[in-house]
């Protein structure tokens, strides 16, 4: 399935690329520039960017890999390194042929580089996937993360490095295979296949010089040491939380065609009641969000099931790996919230329910943080204390429009929404509503902080 998704989209149409170019042009010729880089910084940045965007083949006239090495990078990384020979050249185009092994088939509608195991009950979950690439200009081919160790081997005459993943890390296995005559490295992902099947698969691959007609597009990973931290947040647009009383009346206004908010609100909403239940059997069965299955929430009598709360320290995959710090079973409850909505217009209309539930902790300075975030600096967090998505809603829209109930002209109606939350965290629960992304409460984006959340303490 993973590979099918990776290849789910068609190529970007040329007309869309033209839109991007036009927008860049318009932005640069209409918006004033307020900040400037030093000349040196500009040149450095431009060189880096240009190098990163030049296809690897451009470097072919001066460099060739004469082999590859692997070495540990940090505790859980494996750096795959190319040894370059400046005297040789490699072909600009290569052709990759893969013989589909017995018992496997090509994932349909892909470029033919993904193979799934026909004997697997679930479609496209097991098998092989190939990424082909050349090392970047620094000679680094890749840095495999979450690797417990690696093994050098030879398969079908090719040097290969098999990556042994850290225990319990949920990913496909990986093997790097180097085709020295054409300077192409294949990264083969595989899962639930035998060693013999892996060997057969690699033996069925040929990589040779090709032509522009049968060129297989091969990129290089633009991977340098700084990228190890690329997963960390590099830009800092802080969320802001503003607490309001639970019974605050909130009004909604429509966006006009020009993107501005209408002068008069079209909808009002106020919380009118909160209930906490440990059994869902009395609820309207048509009100459950099909996002959840019944048996993952309650037993046959409707009693809400406990669940396992885990605390993880998440790693970067290179120096640290994900560590399960604790695990405990906790009871859960259904938190039902009644919302009194009024349609302030003279027309029937559907409207969006923007509310979600979060467990929040108030800091000494009055600011808030998500309760699951135990130690942000060390990236320690618990699994969710509450289902942020609505679990139950009455009434609601149908199908894809679940979050859009309808109000008649000038009608008032009570909409009940429910969330499943850990019983020991009920005091930390807040209804949340982000004005810019989850509702049309304020026109703050983009000139003001677009990530301001209103918080209504539930209990």
């Amino acid at each position: 399935m993973d590979n099918k998704l990776k290849n789910a989209f068609k190529e970007t149409p040329e007309r869309f690329r033209y839109t991007v170019k036009s927008a860049i042009d318009e932005a640069q010729h209409t918006a004033p520039s307020k900040h400037h880089l030093s000349k040196g910084a500009k040149i450095t940045l431009a060189v880096i960017l240009i190098l990163s965007l030049i296809p690897a083949a451009v470097f072919g006239a001066t460099k060739i890999i004469a082999g590859m090495n692997a070495e540990k990078e940090g505790n859980y990384g494996v750096k795959i390194i190319a040894n370059t020979d400046p005297e040789a050249e490699y072909p600009k185009y290569v052709k990759i042929d893969v013989k589909t092994p017995n018992g496997f088939d090509v994932v349909p509608n892909t470029d033919g580089m993904n193979f799934y195991n026909l004997s697997t009950e679930e479609p496209y979950t097991d098998g092989f996937s190939i990424d082909a690439f050349r090392p970047n200009s620094n000679g680094i081919a890749d840095i495999a993360d979450y690797a417990e160790k690696y093994e050098e081997t030879t398969i079908a005459g090719h040097t290969a490095y098999k990556i042994i993943p850290v225990k319990n890390h949920n990913s496909w296995d990986r093997i790097y295979v180097y085709y020295d005559d054409v300077n192409v490295m294949l990264l083969i992902y595989y899962t639930n296949v035998t060693d013999d099947q892996l060997t057969d698969f690699i033996e069925g691959i040929t990589v040779k010089e090709g032509t522009a007609k049968d060129h297989t597009e091969i990129g290089s990973y633009d991977f340098d040491d700084d990228d190890k931290s690329a997963a960390d947040s590099g830009y800092e647009i802080a969320e802001e939380y503003i607490e309001k009383p639970l019974d605050t009346e909130i009004t909604y206004a429509d966006f006009g065609e020009d993107g501005s908010l209408a002068d008069h609100p079209s909808l009002s909403c106020r919380v009118s009641g909160v209930r906490v239940l440990d059994n869902i059997s009395e609820l309207d069965e048509n009100g459950f969000n099909d996002l959840y299955t019944y048996d993952e929430i309650a037993d046959e009598n409707g009693s809400i099931l406990p669940h396992t709360r885990e605390v993880w320290q998440y790693g970067d995959g290179i120096t640290t790996k994900d560590e399960l710090l604790s695990s405990e079973e906790v009871d859960r409850r259904l938190v039902l919230i009644d919302l009194d909505y009024t349609n302030l217009t003279d027309e029937d209309r559907p409207f969006y329910i923007p509310w979600r539930l979060s467990a929040m902790t108030k800091n000494a300075d009055g600011s808030f943080k998500r309760s699951e975030s135990i130690d942000a600096d060390r990236d320690i967090a618990a699994t969710e204390f509450a289902t942020s998505e609505i679990y139950y809603m009455s009434d609601h829209g149908e199908g894809k429009a679940f979050y859009f109930p309808t109000l008649s002209a000038n009608e008032s109606k009570t909409i009940t929404i429910g969330f499943i939350a850990d019983a020991d965290k009920l005091e930390e629960l807040y209804l949340t509503c982000c004005p810019s992304s989850d509702s049309v409460l304020s026109p703050s984006y983009p000139t003001e902080n677009p990530y301001t959340y209103f918080l209504l303490k539930v209990l």
Partner: protein, 155 residues
């Protein structure tokens, strides 16, 4: 701050991501082009806010998602959202096959976006956490639910 030449290179390198994310959210190319256009203008006007250039892609994607959300809300107030989406074959279809298009379209919007960012755009869970401003556990649970639903749809 990013200079004009670098901005052009960085945005151009993100074209495929811009196309796929906007099409998966808005479902028609005309609206997707408008959203991408607006997102690029907003990014240019606010590029001084980006402190580290290597996060440009994540940053631009987040801006685009916000523009798309705004457009969805505006659109839902102009049309009857209870109407069925037009048949896949009769509307702009960015996917390779009708089967995968229907499976992805059937996902709840937030799960669909998370799945696209993870499986198609290859963003890490931590990057998605930053793009969508949700806890890491939420990213994982959405991916888990997305996988479960897709397996059902594709089986």
């Amino acid at each position: 701050m990013i200079d004009n030449h670098s901005f052009e290179l960085l945005v151009t390198a993100q074209t495929d991501t811009l196309y796929r994310v906007s099409m998966s959210m808005l479902k028609n190319e005309h609206d997707a082009q408008d959203a991408v256009h607006d997102a690029i203008l907003i990014a240019y006007q606010n590029r001084h806010q980006l402190r580290q250039e290597q996060y440009f892609g994540t940053w631009l994607t987040r801006i685009l998602i916000n523009v798309c959300k705004k457009e969805i809300k505006r659109h839902t107030r102009c049309t009857d959202i209870g109407d069925q989406l037009p048949d896949i074959a009769s509307r702009d279809n960015p996917y390779q096959s009708v089967e995968i298009a229907e499976a992805i379209d059937a996902l709840p919007p937030k799960i669909r976006l998370t799945v696209i960012l993870f499986y198609v755009e290859n963003y890490s869970i931590k990057e998605i956490k930053s793009i969508l401003k949700i806890p890491e556990g939420t990213v994982k649970s959405r991916l888990s639910k997305g996988r479960k639903l897709l397996k059902e749809y594709l089986s």
